[in-house]
């Protein structure tokens, strides 16, 4: 495998892993926030929406200090490894996916909530049904999370260290090429990154579309 495909592979691999973990957290949490009413729920929703704009460089810095050898999570020895980059991107993607899932779930719950709990089903049992109803919105939510992770540079360069052959992603390579004055190379790499984002988005939408026409759309 040459260096270029390695860099592209690492970028996509890390972003997919982070998006997957973020989705695993965000889907149930986002739907639950719509289904369960409890004190402080509004505050949590406001906070999650605020974290939409979490500055990557701040996430990177806090995580850097936490994962540092002299930090509380230093024993993991994750600093300057892909694992640290996955954690950073997961932190960035989770609020975005959660907020979007919550918004869609709220609408679905307002419309189908009574129906879903009418036959004695608990609210907890309603959560997977809600997610099923809003599955088209989930595609957008998860893609938004993926977009955040794959395009980000501030956090991964801090916790990954841009180590050649280990933690060098497309975005950190673009930053490096620019600093070496290789602007045309940096721009070409940028075009590849945008192309990959478009293809992934197109693929997911195509798959989602097929799933919708193949399966029953009834609730």
């Amino acid at each position: 495998m040459n260096e270029f495909t390695e860099i592209v592979g690492l970028s996509i691999g890390i972003s997919l892993a982070a998006t997957f973990i973020a989705a695993a957290i965000s889907l149930p949490v986002g739907a639950a926030l719509a289904v369960f009413a409890f004190r402080g729920r509004h505050g949590i929703v406001v906070l999650i929406n605020a974290f939409f704009g979490l500055p990557p460089v701040v996430v990177g810095l806090v995580l850097y200090l936490a994962l540092s050898h002299s930090g509380p999570l230093g024993f993991l020895q994750w600093l300057f490894t892909p694992a640290a980059m996955i954690v950073a991107q997961t932190i960035l993607a989770t609020p975005i996916i959660t907020a979007l899932v919550h918004r869609a779930s709220e609408r679905a719950w307002a419309r189908y909530g009574d129906e879903l709990t009418s036959d004695g089903a608990t609210r907890l049992q309603a959560v997977p049904h809600i997610l099923m109803i809003i599955r088209a919105d989930l595609v957008t939510a998860v893609l938004a999370g993926f977009g955040r992770t794959v395009s980000e540079v501030g956090a991964v360069i801090l916790v990954g260290g841009n180590i050649r052959g280990l933690t060098r992603t497309m975005t950190t390579t673009i930053a490096l090429q620019t600093s070496q004055g290789d602007l045309s190379l940096a721009l070409a790499l940028g075009a590849v990154l945008v192309g990959i984002s478009i293809s992934i988005s197109a693929t997911v939408f195509a798959l989602a579309g097929r799933a919708r026409t193949a399966g029953s759309d009834e609730v």
Partner: protein, 274 residues
């Protein structure tokens, strides 16, 4: 909906990535941006890895940040170029052994129009005085790197204390060498650069070398091993192998053989430190 088994598999994968990188013989080298941006490390590391099987993971930072990374225990070895900051690091007891591996020189580069009329001179201090009195744009790294420290020492010798907030011509960009050169090229400004980064830089625009050959512009690179009493967790044995290789005749030869466009970037100096 949520396939818990997949999550577990993923966590296992992450753990495996981590375990494999820890199990391999690899060390983290915190280094200056110049030795990476100039291509030196990419050129000589494969030779060391082929011989020893030890992978060297380079985290390229400015010297100030690299020293901090090592202080925190996040690096196994240092390759830096700021004699004063290095001495402080040694005095604090973080380092055990500091050896010079190579030198080259700093240069002052500037726009070919040369508004401060300093082109072709050798005296860097006089050049800075001329730049300041002409209020010609000057880009400062402003990032506590070795080059930034060298620049501030030169201003001190010139009896000047330019202030980025007051002096519009003095532009503190807080970035790496490449960023500073990009900025200088875009703003037709002067800046202090290490020769290695300059020679391998590809966006020079109208920039030319204005001042070179001043003894004040000497740029020394040192390898620093860490003190086992303060950094027991570091991979000091593997780090020592690399440090020893850098000063060995093989390592010195590899450093001296590295060229960009037919020009030697680093002069090996382990035998006779400058």
């Amino acid at each position: 909906m949520i396939k818990f088994r997949n999550v577990l598999a993923l966590v296992a994968t992450v753990a495996a990535i981590n375990a494999s990188s820890a199990a391999d013989q690899s060390i983290v080298l915190a280094s200056t941006t110049s030795v990476e941006a100039s291509g030196l490390l990419a050129n000589i590391l494969p030779q060391f890895t082929a011989r020893t099987g030890i992978r060297v993971n380079v985290v390229a930072q400015g010297t100030g940040k690299a020293l901090d990374t090592a202080r925190r225990g996040d690096a196994d070895l240092l390759l830096v170029h700021d004699p004063e900051a290095e001495q402080q690091f040694m005095d604090e007891g973080h380092g055990s052994k500091r050896r010079q591996i190579a030198w080259n020189d700093f240069i002052i580069v500037g726009p070919s129009a040369d508004p401060a009329h300093v082109k072709g001179g050798r005296d860097s201090v006089a050049a800075l005085k001329a730049i300041a009195s002409a209020q010609a744009p000057f880009v400062s790294r402003g990032d506590k790197s070795g080059t930034n420290a060298a620049e501030l020492r030169l201003w001190k010798l010139a009896g000047q204390t330019p202030d980025a907030l007051k002096d519009k011509w003095y532009r503190d960009i807080g970035g790496g060498m490449g960023q500073a050169l990009n900025a200088a090229s875009a703003m037709d400004a002067y800046t202090l650069s290490d020769r290695g980064t300059w020679l391998s830089f590809n966006n020079k625009g109208s920039l030319i070398v204005a001042i070179e050959g001043d003894p004040h512009l000497l740029n020394r690179y040192d390898v620093i091993e860490l003190n086992p009493e303060k950094h027991a967790g570091a991979k000091l044995a593997a780090a020592k192998l690399f440090a020893d290789w850098l000063v060995s005749s093989d390592g010195q030869q590899a450093i001296g053989a590295y060229q960009v466009n037919g020009q030697k970037l680093f002069n090996p100096s382990a035998r006779s430190p400058k």
